[in-house]
Subunit: 209 residues, 2 copies
């Protein structure tokens, strides 16, 4: 998709975030399929979380959880559960995260929302509503997390193509965390991406009433 | 939540995004409950979309849709469907968006993923899987959208507290778009927020295997 000049002028005039930051997070950033060998440090992973944790969730429930699959043995077990087209890149990525929803997020409500601790019991009483809340708000946080990876100067490679039931059985046997997405993380490698695919026109996605 | 110095040092060292941009999008940004009278222009709304459209969705399906409720009559109809605590601020906000999932996003696949137009028919054959895909990926895009609002130098006030079935009946009678979130947008007004609520500690949310 050519990044057209009228859109660039619109962003320069109406977006407070400067051009370099817009490029890093939005306009030039891409999902990567290959990575260099450069490791991702534990400090980088912690810094990503220290950004991603801030934007809002409903009732401040923060249900997103992250499992970094770093030991060689665990990585092999994960790769076995990835779809065929995702195996090689997941085996080779410097860092790999399983992003998950904590279905028992409500246990943290007295800490996260100290003025309304009774919300813990409201959620405890309805497993179905709690699971839906966990998945929706963890997915919202995945949006923040992917942009935080980019903010760290790294590329993310998010993948929905894996055996989610198998990943849950293998990595979250208690059933409390449920996998939503697997993300490869690192510096982009050789031929890291195809040309960017089109987006919808403004008029296709946005309406006024 | 006091923004502690060790976290600030970690971000300064390991995050490529500069301090001002980190503050604008993550560390200092807040959801707003009150707004000034300053209007949000149609150019600002278009610029927000021109950022929010870029980050990834599964199979590039882009299912998020936005309905800006700008006419006085439509605003009254929306306010009637908001929970009590959200009515006054939704009536007063300079701009209000209903964020929705397009359950028939697959009709755009030949445009959005021209090398795999057959995906349209795969999604067409399974209404349940298509609805789930629409909701998950539109929710992911809401994460991008909220950060794009902040990138425009504006505050967002996202609200899940509304009669979703009522909003869908009133604003999306065809059943194709389904409301996910209502967002007030503008410059923060008087006493726009309470103190920030805590977040989970890194060790509570992130693990390694």
């Amino acid at each position: 998709m050519p990044y057209d000049e009228s859109a660039a002028a619109l962003l320069a005039e109406h977006i407070a975030l400067d051009d370099a930051a817009r490029a890093l997070l939005f306009t030039e950033a891409r999902s990567a399929n290959t990575f260099t060998d450069e490791p991702v440090s534990s400090e980088q992973l912690r810094a990503i979380w220290e950004l991603a944790k801030f934007p809002p969730t409903a009732a401040n429930t923060n249900p997103l959880r992250v499992l970094y699959v770093s030991s060689p043995d665990a990585r092999v077990r994960l790769v076995d559960l990835m779809n065929e087209g995702n195996k090689a890149k997941t085996a080779a990525a410097p860092a790999v995260a399983i992003l998950a929803a904590d279905l028992d997020f409500h246990e943290h409500i007295p800490q996260l929302f100290p003025s309304r601790p009774e919300l813990r019991d409201v959620f405890a009483a309805d497993d179905e509503a709690r699971a839906a809340h966990a998945r929706v708000n963890a997915t919202l946080q995945i949006g923040y997390y992917l942009l935080a990876v980019r903010a760290a100067g790294l590329a993310a490679g998010p993948m929905g193509g894996f055996d989610a039931a198998g990943v849950d059985a293998e990595f979250f046997p208690g059933g409390r965390w449920r996998s939503l997405l697997v993300v490869n993380i690192g510096k982009p490698g050789e031929n890291p991406w195809f040309d960017r695919l089109p987006r919808l026109d403004y008029e296709q996605a946005v309406r006024f009433i």
